[in-house]
């Protein structure tokens, strides 16, 4: 399938390795990947922080850049959540019927990576090899907004060599929440504390998830504690093979 990669501004700038892994993985599975270079940011930060009029041009831009593709894939649950669940709200705010129609059309074609693989293309074994002890944190937007369900876990279970351990109280928010992590830093860190305790309880060496934003928060906490546990995006695990 020909898919457009929506890398997200966050991954593009801070986590290029996740983008590279996503491309390698999709190509290995036989997809043709396009990267529309006019893409920037979906507007999630603006919209969720309340700067919603400022997000509207970014919504229009996204529709222009990605509107013509049959499938758009992003290695980020929360950015896909923005496009699929909140773009209609932005279009309503802009009082633009045409835009509303366009974003509703587009919404059906935008997928988070794991749901694209499992739910859209029916692949659960991507032929990956990853000989590490790993625990998986299902991020809130993937879980409750996109309802990706067990798709990421199914993919992980089929990775060869992996020692996958269940994360206690996995469904609880890690405390990132976008600008919440800065605006309410104390509460965010209190939530993080419990998440880290659960991660450490698993004795995993790696904590993975489908969103680098949450992982940056969890990983930042682990690193500050010199916990010896690191965070790796799901795409990077799935892209790993015995050859590399």
């Amino acid at each position: 399938m020909r898919v457009a990669l929506f890398i997200t501004c966050f991954n593009d700038t801070l986590f290029p390795e996740t983008g590279r892994a996503t491309v390698e993985l999709l190509e290995r599975l036989g997809h043709e990947v396009a990267f529309p270079q006019e893409q920037t940011c979906c507007g999630q930060m603006h919209f969720n922080t309340g700067y919603q009029r400022e997000a509207i041009p970014l919504v229009r831009r996204f529709v222009e850049v990605f509107g013509d593709y049959d499938a758009v894939v992003a290695p980020s649950g929360s950015c896909v959540g923005m496009v699929r669940e909140l773009y209609p709200m932005a279009a309503e705010l802009a009082n633009d019927k045409k835009l509303l129609y366009e974003v509703e059309e587009l919404g059906d074609k935008v997928f988070e990576l794991s749901e694209f693989l499992v739910n859209k293309t029916g692949v659960t074994d991507v032929g990956a090899y990853y000989p590490h002890r790993v625990t998986y944190h299902p991020t809130c937007h993937s879980l409750r907004m996109l309802k990706v369900g067990d798709a990421p876990l199914e993919l992980l279970r089929n990775v060869r060599g992996i020692d996958l351990v269940e994360l206690p109280e996995a469904k609880e928010c890690c405390g990132f929440g976008g600008t919440f992590a800065v605006k309410n830093a104390d509460t965010s860190v209190a939530m993080l504390g419990d998440k880290l305790r659960h991660v450490l309880d698993t004795e995993a060496e790696i904590c993975t998830a489908g969103d680098n934003s949450c992982l940056m928060h969890i990983g930042g906490g682990l690193k500050r504690q010199r916990a010896g546990v690191r965070t790796v995006h799901l795409a990077e695990i799935l892209a790993s093979t015995e050859e590399r």
Binding site: I7, N11, D12, T13, L14, P16, G19, R20, V23, E27, E32, V33, A34, F35, Q37, E38, Q39, T40, C41, G43, H46, F47, N48, T49, G50, Q52, R53, E54, P57, L58, R61, V65, L86, M89, L93, C140, R144, M145, E172, C173, G177, G178, F180, A181, V182, N184, A185, D186, T187, S188, V189, A190, M191, L192, H217, G219, G220, G221, K223, R224
Partner: protein
């Protein structure tokens, strides 16, 4: 066991519904987060109730259909609220009750105080009513020389401690047994009291019994009121509600206008949704229904007054996205699952309505444009746990985001120059422009990599400046790498013609 003291004497601290400024959520949360006893009490309580609720809900094969029915019933009622309220007034009047309309808190308090005075009441007994907390009725009555006694065990604890409720269903959730024991010994003058729940309840019972028998006026809230018949309903666990609504000769019920439901039949839905969501019970211990006054039958109060309270609710109704907040049946499930509430507790919200529902209801009821209530929609990571459990399907994250938008627009449009020069606003405007233009965006990526050098040491940023410092207080930060994804993409196409991918859109 002897009880020596009889007068509640402490005043609750002010909140969003009192006059004057309240602290922001961030300010108050700092305090509660540092309280280890509170963290322990709350963590334990919310985790237990959360687990129990999940079990109680899993028993119902049609739970999702019930939620949808609850949502649909509520939103239909709100659409025709004017009609149902008039119908309710007719039904209550027909059954011998009197209906009063209160535009705001002041008017409601004046009406209720007037009724108490007309009966020369110096004391009134109350059963848990958040609406009266919203109007600050107790303080008003005190000013009029009337003592109000809370009869719900938890409300009594709060009243004796001179605190405010920290949960809409378990107001004293932040206190544990031994703290309550100490409070009773101190405030009620009880000697030799253990911290066993039956003993604590007994101490309260001894204190309250006389009040029930001597009070001329009882005051209650309402969970529902049926427009068709005029029947008011209170759902509770201790039986004090039944005493309050039946023993005193005069009963006054204060009810938010959104509590009306069309017909008896609708209880079928709500009585399945409410107990399981709130206390994880199949059915709650006491459900009282009453219709009008006794009208000489000797059954129930001789005089019944129903006070219908607006106090900002019609403004909420006018907001297309915000109005779903009025669906709320005050079950408190959203509080119990909220990871923010679990850690900060209810007091950090500085409102009679704490937790996720409080974060959307409070700023809407008191109006946008005050720093305290305006901080509440930001007291959420938007994790969506509240929406998932809400029995009437209020999309709380959506309303939170909607309110954030309203707050920012209010600041930008009404805040004058200060609003425009607000550092966050300036940064957001700049970033909006950068994201709207590919060249600016790519330039900013480079600038971020170059500009961070004073901050990055050995591949890590340990401290960020200004407003961003909150991040690095407990978290390290990964610096911006040299090569962005898009730079890598540009380099790869050339070297490996074998791969099928294209870089279209390149211009």
């Amino acid at each position: 066991m002897t009880i020596i003291r009889h007068q509640p004497e402490k005043q609750a601290p002010p909140d969003a519904f009192s006059k004057g400024r309240t602290p922001t959520f961030e300010e108050s949360a700092k305090e509660s987060l540092a309280n280890s006893q509170l963290r322990r009490n709350l963590g334990k309580a919310t985790q237990t109730i959360r687990r129990k609720r999940a079990v109680a809900v899993a028993e119902m094969p049609d739970w999702e259909e019930l939620r949808e029915a609850g949502r649909a019933l509520k939103s239909r009622t709100l659409r025709h609220l004017d009609d149902y309220l008039v119908q309710l007034e007719e039904s209550v009047t027909r059954a011998g009750g009197q209906v009063h309309w209160a535009r705001d808190a002041e008017e409601a308090n004046r009406i209720i105080g007037g009724i108490a005075k007309s009966h020369d009441a110096k004391e009134v007994v109350k059963v848990k009513s958040i609406a009266t907390d919203e109007t600050k009725l107790n303080e008003y009555l005190e000013g009029e020389g009337i003592a109000a006694y809370e009869t719900d065990l938890a409300e009594l604890i709060i009243q004796l401690a001179g605190e405010t409720s920290s949960h809409i269903l378990v107001p004293a959730i932040h206190k544990n047994r031994s703290e309550i024991r100490e409070l009773f010994m101190r405030e009620l003058g009880v000697e030799d009291l253990s911290d066993e729940p039956p003993d604590l309840a007994n101490a309260a019972r001894l204190y309250l019994r006389k009040k029930f028998l001597s009070a001329k006026v009882g005051i209650s809230g309402a969970n529902f009121a049926v427009a068709e018949t005029g029947t008011v309903c209170v759902v509770e666990s201790e039986g004090n509600g039944r005493m309050c609504t039946t023993l005193p000769p005069v009963l006054v019920t204060l009810m938010g206008i959104e509590k009306v439901i069309p017909a008896w039949q609708d209880y079928e839905v709500f009585m399945q949704l409410l107990p399981r969501s709130s206390t994880a019970e199949r059915m709650n211990p006491y459900t009282s229904f009453w219709t009008g006054s006794s009208q000489g039958s000797g059954d129930g109060p001789e005089e019944f007054h129903l006070v219908l309270l607006d106090n900002g609710r019609t403004d909420v109704l006018a907001d297309e996205i915000g109005r779903q907040s009025l669906n709320c049946i005050r079950c408190s499930a959203c509080l119990n699952v909220c990871p923010v509430y679990e850690r900060t507790g209810g007091h950090a919200y500085n409102s009679v309505y704490p937790g996720p529902i409080g974060a959307i209801l409070t700023p809407q009821l008191v109006g946008i444009g005050q720093s305290g209530p305006d901080s509440l929609p930001y007291a959420s990571s938007l994790c969506g746990a509240c929406y998932e459990v809400c029995p009437v399907k209020i999309n709380i994250p959506q309303v939170l985001i909607h309110l954030r938008g309203k707050i920012v627009r209010h600041k930008q449009d009404e805040g004058g120059l200060m609003g425009k020069l607000d550092p966050e606003n300036v940064a957001m405007q700049a970033m909006g422009r950068i994201f709207s233009n590919r060249k600016l965006y790519e330039g900013a990526q480079k600038a971020a990599h170059i500009g961070q050098w004073p901050l990055a040491k050995n591949g890590t940023i340990h401290r960020l400046p200004g407003k961003l410092a909150g991040w690095t207080e407990a978290r390290d930060l990964k610096p911006v790498p040299e090569q962005t994804f898009r730079d890598w993409w540009k380099t790869r196409g050339k070297g490996s013609p074998s791969n099928g991918s294209s870089g279209d859109g390149a211009s």
